[in-house]
Amino acid sequence: MSTKSEAFLQCSNCKKILFSVDFEQNLRVCPHCGFHHRLTARRRIELTFDEDSFQELDADLRSVDPLEFPEYASKLASAISKTGQNDSMVSGRAALEGRSVSVAVSDFNFMGGSMGSVNGEKIARTLERAAEGHMPAIIFCASGGARMQEGLLSLMQMAKTTAAVSRCREAGAPFIAVFTDPTMAGVLASYASIADIILAEPKSLIGFAGLRVAKQAGVGKVPDDFQTAEFAYSHGMIDRVVPRKEMRATLATLVRILGGSHHG
C-alpha cells in the first residue's frame, strides 16, 4: 500500500488508485480487488470487540537484548517509536457481544510481528488467563515467525506457547486463532496451529517457510495459490476463510456457542 497523497492510495495488490476515505471505511479492504491490507493491532481491536471494552494488560513488558545481537537494540528503539508500543503483541481482556474474552493481537508493523520473549510471554499469559477464567481465548496472528535476534530464546517461545495451549485444553477454555497476513514459520508451527478453531482472512500468506526456501527444498512446480489462506483451507489446515467484514459476527457466534459452557 503506497501513499500517493493524503487523499489517494494505491493498492499494492491490484495497483489501482483508491480514495483514502473509502479504503478506511471499507476496513482497509481494497474495493477493487478485495485484498485485505494489514491492520494495526489497535485498529483490529476496535473493529472486532465491543466498543471501549478492551482493557490492555501486560503493556509494560519490554524486550531486552540478551544476546547483544547486531542492531537489535536500534531496531527495537525504532519499532517502539514507529508503533508507540513496547512490542509486537497487544493483549488483554475484551468483550464480544457482552461475553468476556482473553485476547491477543499481533502487530506486523513491530518488527514483522516476530515472536521473541515478550511476544511469547503475552501469548502464554493470554492463554493462561483464558484457562483460569474459563473464558475463550482469541488470538489474531500476524507474524513472520520467531524473532531471530533473540536466538534460542525465541525458539523456546514455540514450546512455551504450545504448553500454554495445553492449559486451555485442560480447563475446557476454547481457543480461537485468526490467521491474518502473514502467519508464518515459528508462530504457525506452534500455538497457532493447535487452536480449537482456526479462521483466516482471505489471501493471507500462511506457511511454514518462506517461499524462496520452500522452492529450494520442494521438487516440482509450486502451485499458484501456495501458502495462501485458500491453500490452507483446501488442504484441511483451517476451518474457514472469513472476510474482514464478517469476522466480528463469526467470532461472536463461535463464542456464544462454545464459550461459557463451563462457567456461566
Binding site: 531486552v64 544476546l67 534460542l152 514450546a159 520442494g218 484441511g236
Partner: protein, 324 residues
C-alpha cells in the same frame, strides 16, 4: 573460514595421510634398524596428530562447533540407540499417510528399563541420505513421534528423544500435509506426557524441526552440539545478504551448549571425548548413557501430576524480558 568439517580438518588429514604412508613403508622395510627409525617417525607423527586434535577441540569457536555438529562421521541417533540401548525394535508409520525415515523410533531396553526412543536420523551414504531426506523430517515423521509418545503414555514407558536435524522439510508436499500442525501437535503431545522424558541435542538442533521433539522434562546437550532458531547461513543471508558470513552469524546467535545453559534453556551439558565424538563414539555414548539414566531416575521418583507441572513451569519460565 572453513566451509565444512572436512575442509577444517584438512591439516589433520594430511598428517594422517603421512602416517599411513610411513606405516606402509615400515611394513615393506626389511632392515631392522631402518624399521625402528620409521617407527619413531610414526610415533612422532601420531603425537603431533593428537596434539593437533587436543588444541583444535580445546578452542572451538561457535562456527567450529557448527562444523563439528554437522561432521559426517559424528555419531547419529541410530549409532547412539545401538550403543546405549539393547533390543531396539524399530516401529514405523504414522498410520495416516506414510513412512518417514528422517525420524527413526521404536522401543528398546535401557539396561533393564523398557523405553520408547526416537530421534532425527541423517544418512551416511548418498543413498541413505536421500532416503532419510538429509534429516529434514516430514509431517509423517512428527505424526509417528506422536503415535510413539501416546504408546509410551499408555504403557507407562519413559521417553528418550535424540535431536539432530538441520530443520523440518519445507517443501510443497510437507506444507500440503501440514508440517506446521505436525510439529505443534508433537510438542503438545510431549507436554501431555506424565511418564519421564529426556531429550538430548546430539548434533544440529535446527529450529522448529528440532523443538518439535525436544519438549521433555530434561534437556541435555552434548558439548559440541548446536541449538539455534535459524541456521547461521540463513541468519547471515537475512542480516547481511551474505550467507558466507555464517561464522559471524554463528557468534551472534549464541548457539553453543554453554550459551543454552547460561540462558537456562538446557539442563546439563554432556561432555564429549576430548578428541571428538566422531573419533571416540563409544566414549561419547557412555557419557550420554550415564546422564540419561541419572535424569530418568530422578524424574521417575516424582508423582505423575508433578512431572507435568514441573515441565510446564520449566518451559513457562523460558525467555528474557523486562517488566514495569
Amino acid at each position: 573460514m572453513a566451509k565444512n568439517f572436512n575442509e577444517w580438518m584438512q591439516p589433520l588429514s594430511e598428517l594422517e595421510e603421512g602416517i599411513k604412508r610411513l606405516e606402509a613403508a615400515r611394513d615393506r622395510e626389511t632392515d631392522a634398524l631402518k624399521k625402528a627409525d620409521l617407527t619413531n617417525h610414526i610415533d612422532d607423527f601420531k603425537r603431533r596428530r593428537d596434539n593437533f586434535l587436543d588444541v583444535m577441540y580445546a578452542r572451538l569457536g561457535p562456527w567450529e562447533k557448527v562444523l563439528v555438529a554437522r561432521a559426517p562421521k559424528r555419531p547419529y541417533t541410530l549409532d547412539y540407540i545401538n550403543s546405549i540401548f539393547t533390543n531396539f525394535v524399530e516401529l514405523q508409520g504414522d498410520r495416516r499417510f506414510g513412512a518417514d525415515h528422517a525420524i527413526i523410533g521404536g522401543c528398546a531396553m535401557l539396561d533393564d528399563q523398557p523405553c520408547v526412543v526416537l530421534g532425527h536420523q541423517k544418512g551416511r551414504t548418498i543413498q541413505e541420505r536421500q532416503q532419510r531426506n538429509f534429516g529434514y523430517a516430514r509431517p509423517e515423521g512428527y505424526r509417528k513421534a506422536i503415535r510413539l509418545f501416546e504408546m509410551a503414555q499408555r504403557f507407562g514407558l519413559p521417553v528418550v528423544t535424540f535431536v539432530d536435524t538441520p530443520g523440518a522439510d519445507a517443501g510443497v508436499e510437507a506444507e500440503s500435509r501440514g508440517i506446521s500442525e505436525a510439529i505443534a501437535a508433537s510438542m503438545l503431545k510431549m507436554f501431555e506426557l506424565d511418564v519421564p522424558s529426556v531429550s538430548v541435542i546430539i548434533g544440529e538442533g535446527g529450529s522448529g524441526g528440532a523443538i518439535g521433539i525436544a519438549c521433555s522434562s530434561r534437556i541435555l546437550m552434548q558439548e559440541h552440539a548446536i541449538y539455534s532458531v535459524i541456521a547461521p547461513e540463513g541468519c547471515a543471508a537475512i542480516l547481511w545478504r551474505m550467507p558466507e558470513r555464517g561464522a559471524e552469524a554463528a557468534r551472534a546467535l549464541r548457539l553453543t551448549a554453554q550459551n543454552a545453559l547460561d540462558f537456562g534453556l538446557v539442563d546439563e551439558i554432556v561432555e564429549e571425548p576430548k578428541r571428538g565424538s566422531d573419533r571416540q563414539p563409544l566414549e561419547a555414548a557412555e557419557s550420554i548413557k550415564e546422564s540419561l539414566i541419572r535424569h530418568l531416575g530422578e524424574i521417575a521418583k516424582l508423582p505423575k501430576a508433578k512431572i507435568r507441572e514441573e515441565r510446564y513451569q520449566k518451559f513457562r519460565q523460558m525467555g528474557v524480558f523486562a517488566e514495569g
